[in-house]
């Protein structure tokens, strides 16, 4: 049974600094992970993904790191902007039905 855990429910960062969001997982079948951002009253928006053949994937200000031995991934946002304030979910795409198993989310607040 796969589990995805985001142990920090909230994070506050000053504008321009780095935001680091963490995620731990167990029993991933395909080692394919995605990060989504969610604003209130909207659906999750895909940000970035990473698969087991890589340990890092970068897209503009967003970089995701995967440490398979530690079963840990992290999302780095640099520089952080006030518009980045949202709930961030990590997800494991390993369900038997290809469904995503989501973490509980981290509320990021970027202070101007």
């Amino acid at each position: 049974d796969q589990q995805v855990k985001q142990n920090s429910p909230s994070l506050s960062v000053q504008e321009g600094r780095i935001s680091i969001l963490n995620c731990d997982y167990t029993n991933s079948m395909f080692d394919y992970f995605l990060w989504y951002k969610k604003y209130p009253a909207e659906g999750p928006t895909f940000l970035i993904s990473i698969s087991s053949i890589k340990d890092k994937n970068e897209d503009g200000r967003f970089t995701v790191f995967l440490n398979k031995s530690a079963k840990h991934l992290s999302l780095h946002i640099v520089p952080s902007q006030p518009g980045d304030s949202a709930v961030y979910f990590c997800a494991d795409a390993s369900g038997s039905a290809r469904q995503l198993t989501f973490g509980s989310g981290t509320q990021l607040t970027v202070l101007p």
């Binding site: 989504y36 895909f46 993904s49 979910f89 795409a93």
Partner: protein
């Protein structure tokens, strides 16, 4: 269309009534998913459709929940005899559906906010 669309955006109903929620996936996407997010909870998988195959219903919480997907495109999630604990945001997502190994990106609609009084 450009993205996944869902209707209605909000639905208020009385306990015991039936509700239908609709999802229009991204054109060309053969895989369609329903999730829900209850207040203070994470996103929970409900059901998965892939093309014309029988759906994977392993996430449906009770037999009051059912879903159809007509013509491999539009999907309807039906909740019969709604209960207060059914109050949640119901999210639909679609993906290309042709990738081996499950390494696909799912794109979400804006959700339907259901409130059962």
């Amino acid at each position: 269309g450009a993205g996944v669309s869902q209707s209605p955006s909000n639905k208020v109903t009385e306990k015991g009534k039936d509700v239908e929620l609709r999802c229009d996936p991204i054109s060309g996407h053969t895989a369609l998913y329903w999730y829900r997010q209850s207040l203070g909870q994470g996103l929970e998988f409900l059901i998965y459709f892939q093309g014309n195959s029988a759906p994977d219903k392993s996430g449906l919480p009770s037999d009051r929940f059912s879903a159809e997907r007509t013509g491999g495109s539009v999907s309807t999630l039906t909740i019969q005899r709604t209960q207060q604990e059914d109050s949640a945001v119901y999210l639909c997502a679609s993906s290309f559906g042709g990738t081996v190994g499950g390494q696909e990106t799912q794109y979400f609609g804006p959700g339907t906010r259901l409130l059962v009084l």
